[in-house]
Amino acid sequence: MSERVVGTETEFGVTDAKNPGANPVILSAEAVEAYAEAASIGEVVRWDYAGEDPLNDARGYRLQRANAHPSLLTDDPYRLAPSGGVDFEERPGEYERYMQRATSVVLSNGARFYVDHAHPEYSSPETSSALEAVLYDRAGDLLATDVMKLTEARGTHLVLYKNNTDGKGASYGTHENYQVSRDLDFDDIIRVMTPFFVTRPIICGAGRVGIGQHSEQAGFQISARADFVENSVGLETTFNRPIINTRDEPHADHHRFRRFHVINGDANQFDVSTYLRLGTTSLVLAALEQANDLRVEGFALDQDDVQTAWDVSHDLTLTRPIQLRSGKSVTAIELQRMYLQFVRENLNLTPADERVCATWARVLDGLENDLASVASEVEWVGKYLLLNRQRERLGVGWDDPRLAAMDLQWADLRPEKSLVSALDRAGRVKRLFTPEQVREAITNPPTTTRAHVRGRAIGQVPQVVKASWTSIVVDDPKIGKLVRIPLPDPTDAGSPELHAALESGALALVDLFNQS
């Protein structure tokens, strides 16, 4: 069951190379605005806020708006999504149009590029497999490169980074989203996914110079995000970050589906690391959905989960024992193998699933026996071997700033500066997609999810003025009001009639929905 709706979100680090003190919110807005103007065929397609509900917690209660930390309030006052047909809204007046700065744009590949707090963020379109999600995640990185060229032409020396921390206490996220069955008990998700998440970085961590939130201790660790995990379960994403995030905003039929929102993965530039991060998680969730006899106690930790996340990240030997409640003592590699076994025992694997499992197994063997053999696939290994060799050449310790500088340049998305690009040109990064495929994925949406409808509408119908995960909004003067067309089902890539209507234009599209 490798077909499931998956998506990623990347918050980019942001600086002005010529002005270290530049305001990041303004820089981010400039980045989004520059891209929005260049990418739009009509008006810039802004975000449709109707229907967002970030205060809903998966444990069954809704946080009172007045009690919510301001960082949780990412929505505007919202209206309920329509249950069918279309919804009408007044067209904005002059003042409202002026106030709607382009801090959010929806793109013809179905993605969203916007300002989130003080970072530009790329939220990928919905894809239906881990492999496809890798492609659309890479598209976001290439988009970042395009953005930097556009702002450079306007005189701002914007630099975007694909990383998760400045090493001075701030962290920003790379999130994953998995559509799972609502029948799956959230307590089971917590129990089974927690030991999985605290050990998962060994196969996909991005590596980091510096230990501790302020890099107060010299060294190299496996995960960029681990030190910023502080809690087991919770709704927060900007402080007290949990291993299991309880946000419950499915953007789909909430009776049938949940969107499991994962916040503690590392930003990856290595294709295979992203592929394993998303593919293994997707399979473990699928196995959990299928498993009748839940041997959840077999995975349960007999030690603090947050401490375990830190310990695993800080142990480059991968041999530190983890105590399980069953009495067993396992290494992180062995615990990951238990999850692989769980997947194999509970699922009828498709060929695509088999490929994830084969890679997972081989990488675990490589981590155990021959680290260099996985250097082009597991990002922390590639980073460690390169930076450690430099450390030896320089005859210094991990506290030398030149190594921290290399860690930053690893994540610099400018091809002429990026250390990953240098490795790539030397054939040291295993790629799952060609540069041409990634380039196409910036403008062409996935064809297997509702992103297909959203993306093609935005790419072909200039009258589309707003969009969200669950809607597209059309503004045609002949109608006189804004028309909101719902996209309630993430797996609905649109009927032939719908795509034909898109070719005919805004009025044909509205007519099609108004009939239902």
Partner: protein, 57 residues
């Protein structure tokens, strides 16, 4: 006696295909580091200290 396997897939073939031209690793890590030296920031300490971000999600 050597066994022959009829059209068995090797472990690598069961996995995801690598895309594009597979470039042979012609240079050693040291050669690569020599190349990389040319693009590294010249004042590492200033560069690292100047990289400050606001917290995100």
């Amino acid at each position: 006696m050597a066994q022959t396997f009829a059209s068995g897939k090797g472990p690598e073939e069961e996995e995801i295909e690598e895309a594009g031209q597979v470039q042979a690793q012609t240079s050693s890590i040291d050669d690569l580091l020599d190349e990389i030296d040319a693009v590294l920031e010249t004042d590492a300490e200033e560069f690292v200290q100047g990289f400050v971000q606001k917290g995100g999600e």
